[in-house]
């Protein structure tokens, strides 16, 4: 049976981001109005091993939420919920 590729069936998606999955802002999806500094679980997902803040270009977080996130991480560090830097 001949099968024509007439554009029907699975449409081929244009590969953006070099074939990787597109990034999105997790907080925008959840419509977060504030990021809690006590929520270590969420915050630590944005601070990889070394304890630094994950850059926006990697995480895809929008500018507004990145500012809120940084503020929350700094507070959490202050009260020893998150590390400043670890080797």
């Amino acid at each position: 049976m001949k099968r024509k590729t007439d554009g029907k069936g699975k449409p081929k998606k244009k590969k953006a981001f070099g074939g990787r999955r597109s990034k999105f802002c997790k907080f925008c999806v959840e419509k977060s109005t504030m990021i809690d500094y006590k929520d270590v679980k969420t915050l630590s997902s944005f601070t990889p091993e070394r304890g630094k803040v994950l850059p926006r270009r990697t995480s895809g977080v929008c500018a507004l939420h990145q500012r809120m996130l940084v503020e929350a991480i700094k507070r959490a560090r202050n009260i020893a919920l998150l590390p400043f830097a670890t080797d």
């Binding site: 999105f24 504030m34 006590k38 507070r75 202050n78 009260i79 590390p83 670890t86």
Partner: protein, 129 residues
């Protein structure tokens, strides 16, 4: 009156009873200085992310309160002078709440605009893949 969240870490050398006593002590100070305590949340013994005064653990306690700035200053002064308190942090929550409210308005406006334009919001699952 302003809304605050004050969190402090007590030394791990204390016993549970001593921590309870310490918490009551600070609750007393808040009441005495005309503050309105809304909630006390004892998190218990937790591991610290880094060493504080050579300790790697501490008892976390969270106060939610309505207070004036002088009470917070006094409370923080007591924290500093108390050897069994190794860390503390006060955050103004009324400012945070205001900012959150503004953000909510922004979301609502955006949702309305999208609804009028007939754009559907992508569902969380769809975005996450």
């Amino acid at each position: 009156m302003r809304r605050y969240e004050t969190i402090f870490v007590a030394s791990p050398t204390l016993t549970d009873e001593q921590v309870d006593e310490l918490v009551r002590h600070f609750e007393g100070i808040i009441a005495e200085q005309g503050g309105e305590l809304l909630k006390t949340d004892k998190w218990g013994r937790k591991k610290l992310a880094y060493e504080v005064q050579k300790f790697s653990e501490g008892y976390y306690t969270l106060f939610e309160l309505n207070a004036g700035p002088t009470l917070i200053a006094e409370l923080e002064r007591r924290f500093r002078n108390n050897d069994t308190v190794i860390k503390y942090l006060s955050v103004r929550m009324d400012v945070e709440a205001k900012a959150a409210e503004r953000q909510k308005v922004r979301y609502d406006r955006e949702a309305k605009r999208k609804a009028q334009a007939g754009i559907k919001d992508r569902s969380a699952e769809e975005v996450m893949g």
